[in-house]
């Protein structure tokens, strides 16, 4: 089975974003970057499917040259090769632009299965995988918690709201958007890191044919509406004051 896994490189979760001068995007020169969390689970799922059914796992990532770090990381965990869609604008582009560029780079590959994360930690569109499915002309399912493949047929477990799930079957090829927690992640071994150095990364220039349909015109910290009572002081002072207020004011403890 030929499996593509789409991986986005995103700023680390604890990075405090700073807005640029035109207030249209962030200044991320000082940011540390990491693999988008659900994409790590998508990669793991791809590797497990390959272990069960054979084939290869190809990592696809669109972004500037720095994304080669997450590509290497994915190769070290066991992916076979990679496609890097070179695009400086991908980080701030919308899902149409990114999915269009990814679909273009995938043409000619005839993947049986394309896995993406369900949502990116930075932009959070929750769209790229689904738009990609339409561009590739294949069926899809979202927020997936289990994947089974039997011959040409795919059966997946979708997470619904409030603790509900549902199995859905569909033919291959298909696109799935993977939910965090679907499996337990493996980490790269030293051997994997060494092997990754020799693996192929095909670089593709984004054609620029796919434009974003939306534009950020103003970026700012969200306005605060709630009046939180912030309690300061040393940890001991803060603890004493909090317990006092929880007892006397909120009556939340005895």
């Amino acid at each position: 089975m030929k499996i593509a896994v789409c991986i986005k490189q995103v700023p680390a979760r604890d990075w405090q974003p700073r807005v640029n001068e035109s207030r249209t995007w962030v200044r991320d020169e000082d940011a540390a970057f990491e693999m988008n969390e659900p994409d790590a689970y998508a990669l793991e799922e791809g590797l497990r499917l390959k272990e069960r059914h054979g084939g290869e796992v190809v990592v696809c990532s669109a972004g500037p040259s720095r994304v080669s770090h997450v590509i290497r990381e994915a190769l070290a965990r066991g992916a076979d090769r990679a496609i890097h869609v070179e695009s400086d604008g991908a980080a701030s582009a919308d899902a149409f632009e990114v999915a269009g560029a990814l679909a273009e780079a995938m043409s000619g590959e005839s993947f049986d299965l394309v896995l993406t994360g369900l949502q990116s930690d930075d932009q959070g569109f929750a769209q790229t995988g689904v738009v990609l499915a339409e561009r590739l002309g294949v069926p899809h399912a979202t927020i997936i918690m289990e994947v089974t493949v039997d011959g040409g047929a795919l059966r997946v477990k979708r997470e619904l709201e409030g603790g509900w799930f549902q199995w859905v079957a569909m033919p291959l090829p298909a696109v799935l958007t993977i939910q965090s927690g679907i499996n337990q992640l493996r980490y790269a071994t030293l051997k994997g890191i060494m092997a990754a150095r020799k693996k192929d990364i095909r670089k593709v220039a984004a054609s620029g044919a796919h434009r974003s349909h939306q534009r950020i015109v103003n970026l700012y910290p969200p306005q605060k509406t709630k009046q939180t009572q912030l309690i300061g002081g040393t940890p001991a002072e803060a603890a004493r004051e909090l317990v006092k207020r929880l007892r006397d004011e909120a009556r939340a403890i005895d």
Binding site: A169, R215, P235
Partner: protein
């Protein structure tokens, strides 16, 4: 015209549908009073359509087809692509539910029209309406304008608009059937009946007090610290999703949209950022306390009391204080 696509399951409307009606009324007021129509898709829609006709809208459209029950992304996209072509709305609005996440991006791609998702409020920019959404895990708000031709597709975050503020009409809105043809052979997904996993061992909804741990706890072997605080407070232990994903706590201790919904007297969040999917599961708690080293964490927006600090310093102090 503004088209709202409402959501029903087994003939019952969800609350988010009324929230989007409220959003549509606000958007209409901002954009020169365009009429609003509400569409419903599915198998048996009479009851839900009747309920919706109470809204102050021009018309309720039902798309009733065997091929739309149960839901499939392919079926909904085929039906809505036709409905949108026939009705020619300027905006098409949806609740940002799991269902909408599954098919709306595909509809937008099929129509090749803009989609802005998970919108929390309306704004203005360059003389047109802008849509505000939160990015970078809620740390930044972005006013977004949509480009290209109408229709523009928009999904709204749960709770962003107040369902109770959706205006009701003086008389019921007319309900009419919209005809679309769906070739069932083109529906590739074959869904099975929804189910719940085995009964939960812990029922957090009954807990009076809850201590919730998030990724700020850093490592599994730090959990006893949170357990000790829970014990001192007489509280149950709960967690954000990543803690359960990692297997540090069982899934039935997860709070949020894909976990349990709780409303205890006291919800004390340790190193939980307060992402929307977590917040929907706990924001009805009576008293919320946030302990987080990041003063900008969205959890402080929900909290009644907050301590900005390192939980590894604050929690031992709290335990000591409670044991005095």
């Amino acid at each position: 015209m503004i088209l709202v696509v409402a959501e029903q399951r087994d003939g019952r409307l969800n609350r988010a549908s009324w929230e989007v009606v409220a959003a549509a009324q606000r958007l209409a007021a901002k954009t020169g009073g365009a009429p609003i129509k509400v569409a419903l898709l599915g198998g048996d829609l009479a009851a839900a359509a009747g309920e919706l006709s109470a809204a102050a809208v021009a018309e309720v459209l039902t798309v009733e087809q065997a091929a739309l029950e149960p839901y499939t992304a392919d079926g909904f996209v085929a039906a809505l692509a036709q409905l949108v072509a026939g009705q020619a709305p300027t905006y098409v609005l949806f609740p940002h539910t799991y269902l909408a996440r599954d098919f709306v991006p595909k509809l937008a791609a099929r129509l090749d029209r803009a989609l802005v998702a998970d919108v929390v409020s309306l704004a203005e920019a360059d003389g047109t309406v802008a849509f505000t959404r939160l990015i970078f895990q809620g740390k930044l708000a972005a006013d977004v304008v949509l480009e290209g031709e109408a229709p523009y597709l928009v999904t709204f975050q749960a709770g962003a608009f107040n369902a109770d503020l959706a205006e009701r009409g003086a008389s019921p809105a007319p309900v009419s059937r919209a005809d679309v043809t769906i070739d069932a052979a083109l529906i590739r997904q074959k869904p099975e009946a929804p189910f719940r996993e085995a009964k939960q061992a812990v029922d957090l909804s009954q807990a009076q007090r809850i201590v919730a741990v998030g990724r700020g706890i850093r490592a599994r072997d730090q959990l006893p610290l949170a357990e000790a605080l829970a014990k001192a407070l007489g509280a149950e232990l709960a967690a954000s999703r990543p803690i359960c994903d990692a297997g540090w706590l069982p899934i039935d201790r997860q709070v949020g949209s894909s976990g349990q919904t709780v409303a205890p007297k006291l919800y004390l969040a340790l190193g939980v950022s307060g992402a929307i999917q977590h917040a929907v599961g706990m924001k009805a708690s009576k008293t919320i306390v946030a302990i987080n080293k990041d003063a900008e964490a969205p959890m402080f927006e929900l909290a009644d009391y907050g301590i900005v600090g390192d939980l590894f310093e604050v929690v031992p102090a709290l335990i000591k204080e409670l044991q005095r």
